[in-house]
Symmetry: C2
Subunit: 249 residues, 2 copies
């Protein structure tokens, strides 16, 4: 089992980066590059710890973080092995902008509306504010290669964020929120489908009655405060949600 020693890991104790994190990053990179073959054993923790001059708990913490990411599988009495399957992107709270950018689609955004309005019943309930309270409403059209992809409608609590129209055209909403110091924590989503109305059809260049993919999402920060409520409509002919999910053991 310990016949081949193709890779050498090393840690820098003078770095402020935690040791377990340094190791987990090196392991992940080695897996990504295929230097750690799928299915291959990782070698036992004790020996790995000794070789690196680390304690076993530290090595375990590094390994555990990759197990949580779905890259490794541990089996008692057997060892830790690299998972075979092609783990890509385990469904994260990403904005459509980032998705398109990652796919090399050069996304563009057109801000259709950016106003302060009294909250309707649905938005008020989602954001946890009284009905009629003032909220920020942003409506955007997201394009890829000049073609409309989706119509995005977002409600935000008033005063949460100082939205700049220019920034909104150049990046996603989540990135702006994170940049403003908001720690996104969780989101409640609902994905469905419906036929396009006349107005939606015109906006998205689809015929009336064409199938559209819809998503409603309420996002919370780590204090439990709702920071965004979105109602989005995607062209089903051009877009589908792709993601990977892990089974919680």
């Amino acid at each position: 089992m310990a016949k081949d020693r193709p890779l050498q890991f090393s840690v820098d104790r003078s770095s402020p980066v935690p040791l377990y994190f340094q190791l987990s990053q090196q392991l992940e990179a080695a897996i990504e590059r295929g230097e750690l073959a799928p299915g291959s054993l990782l070698g036992n923790e004790i020996e790995l710890a000794g070789r690196l001059g680390l304690s076993r708990p530290t090595v375990r913490q590094a390994i555990q973080s990759l197990v949580d990411k779905g890259l490794l599988v541990r089996r008692r009495g057997v060892g830790t092995q690299v998972v075979h399957s092609q783990v890509k992107r385990p469904l994260e709270l990403s904005s459509l902008y980032d998705d398109l950018e990652a796919a090399g689609q050069r996304p563009a955004t057109r801000v259709l509306r950016h106003t302060a309005e009294p909250a309707g019943a649905e938005a008020a309930a989602a954001l946890g504010v009284p009905e009629g309270a003032e909220v920020v409403l942003v409506e955007r059209l997201r394009l890829a290669h000049g073609e409309p992809m989706a119509h995005l409608r977002n409600h935000l609590p008033a005063g949460l964020l100082d939205l700049d129209g220019g920034a909104l055209e150049e990046t996603g909403l989540y990135r702006l929120m994170r940049a403003a110091g908001i720690t996104l924590h969780s989101a409640r989503q609902s994905v469905g489908a419906r036929a396009a109305t006349a107005e939606e059809g015109e906006r998205l260049a689809e015929p009336v009655g064409a199938p559209l993919l819809t998503m409603e999402r309420t996002t919370f920060d780590d204090t439990g405060r709702a920071v965004e409520f979105g109602s989005h409509v995607y062209r089903a002919s051009r877009y589908a949600f792709e993601f990977q999910l892990l089974v919680r053991p």
Copy 2:
């Protein structure tokens, strides 16, 4: 901060259940029941460990598991507090059957087809078998309250599982797999929408052209082997995917 002591936790050292797990379950139950108010501090780890007669690492392990579930938030220098938001079900690999059952819908299944067939190009690629190799094909109609909800088409590698027609009508496919000792690990999913064909419309009692929600999913076990490829179609008028997702910190 430590003024109120409304709850007392306790662990049983003679139990085979790990101590950290006993504690995390009690904490989770207390949060669920509202005995630990959202936003309230949990009290520092050292003191909690001392009160329970546990070591700090054990207490940390218990807390960490709830942080991973999204129920708690830790802040250095501040403490650990219960998250405000309503965390429900953090998107898991659940079968439609379980979803409907949990919603009190009394699901029923009609097996339309259950044969061994040569794999088509798509199914072969997804399952990682040569095209034309024999695979098991299962087609089911899922009903709730006697109304059709979805048409489920699953391909399985030959010999993976001994599917019983009767069992298929009474439970979900994933439950059967788990019962057969298969450890589900991850799944790659794609969710989209399209207009109903004549055949689909008839099966699902929807007019031709009605919007349908589609999902394709390939599921892998912990050895990286593909154990299932499904192409499912849901009535958009009756069903939407609802889930909660956490932001990986």
